[in-house]
Symmetry: C2
Subunit: 190 residues, 2 copies
DNA sequence: CTAGATTGTCTAGCAGTGCTAGAGTTCGGC
DNA sequence: GCCGAACTCTAGCACTGCTAGACAATCTAG
């Protein structure tokens, strides 16, 4: 029956509208500004409509986060293709800086997104796989662990760069040094 | 006048009680459980009393965070005395794991504590100085930047260790590799 | 020892939050 | 045109941080 599929389509569109609007609000004013009331008003529906699509507010943020993982995977791939591990690093930290609200949704806000298990969303693994591919050439054994270390180091810089916790003028130097730790033998480091 | 100082003392004691209770609540049930009502009930005063001591809830969390920085500085010093950069790393990640609520207050929760500027609390610099002392022996130039990189890497591991975002069974291997990156020439790494 | 001013403390309430029950409306199929 | 299902809204609950204004305790001065 066609009416059924039209409804499905309308539902999917509205769901998309909610996610898009939540993202816009978060990127414009931060996640603390994304309340059910403001979001409902913005999409021109009442609050209960949100709950027809998502179990709760966190699920909406998780949907936005999923978009972020897709974008991050793309950005990392491009950065790596352009300039290997150094390009990947630049891409990661660049994305985190340009989209702090997205980065929050993905990594800082407590979320129900599972990471290490088998039912981890595929797109979430993709980003990790990109980092793995970037790190692998420079390690001899246990690339997985090395990748986790490198990613953690990236994540640390991404979060501490915020709020002037690290000297802003040395942002680039920190990124460079991190890459050097993996690609340049210690004896040759400047 | 003695009555004045007694009052001062009573005030200071009550302030201490508030901070201690907030910490206990946070460590037992997480910061989302630390509400003005619960905290007030726990210290057996009404909510407005809290505001006689602190401007808002965040200021209370900041006071707890300050305690955390003191403890972290001590722990880092001991760890470094015991086993250099490796001991310091173990101490840092150990503290973060054993006191997640404290670590949140110090580094994850948005706070008004200033970091990089001149009016940064002394105790906050101490912890950084410890890491600096641990890293310095292994770098030739720009120890400050190297310290920021190392600290960021520690912070990344500390936060991502939570919520099964990194494989729990490789926790130690990640810590070891991070230290190796600084102390062992790349060519000698396993 | 009492009167007055100063402190301290509490009750009650505001404006906001996430979330939901139940009423009301719109719509598709017959 | 009618009925039942799907949908959407209004109104409200229990909570949050925070505060104004009433009340009580305490100290100072005569």
């Amino acid at each position: 029956m066609p009416s059924e599929s039209r409804r499905e389509r309308a539902r999917a569109e509205r769901r998309e509208l909610i996610v898009r609007t939540a993202r816009e609000l978060a990127e414009a004013e931060g996640w603390e500004a994304v309340t059910t009331r403001r979001l409902a008003e913005q999409v021109d529906y009442s609050q209960p409509v949100l709950y027809g699509h998502f179990a709760n507010m966190d699920a909406i943020a998780a949907a936005v986060a999923l978009q972020g993982f897709e974008e991050l995977a793309v950005v990392l791939r491009e950065g790596r293709a352009d300039d290997g591990l150094r390009g990947l690093t630049r891409a990661y930290l660049g994305y985190a800086e340009e989209h702090p609200a997205m980065y929050d949704a993905m990594f800082v806000r407590r979320t129900e997104l599972v990471f290490g298990t088998t039912d981890t969303p595929a797109v979430l693994r993709e980003a990790f796989t990109e980092i793995l591919a970037g790190v692998t050439p420079y390690v001899t054994t246990d690339a997985e662990t090395a990748t986790e270390v490198f990613w953690s180091a990236l994540h640390g810089q991404a979060t501490l760069n915020r709020g002037a916790r690290l000297r802003p003028e040395h942002r680039q130097a920190r990124a460079d040094l991190l890459v050097d730790l993996f690609v340049v033998p210690a004896v040759d480091r400047r």
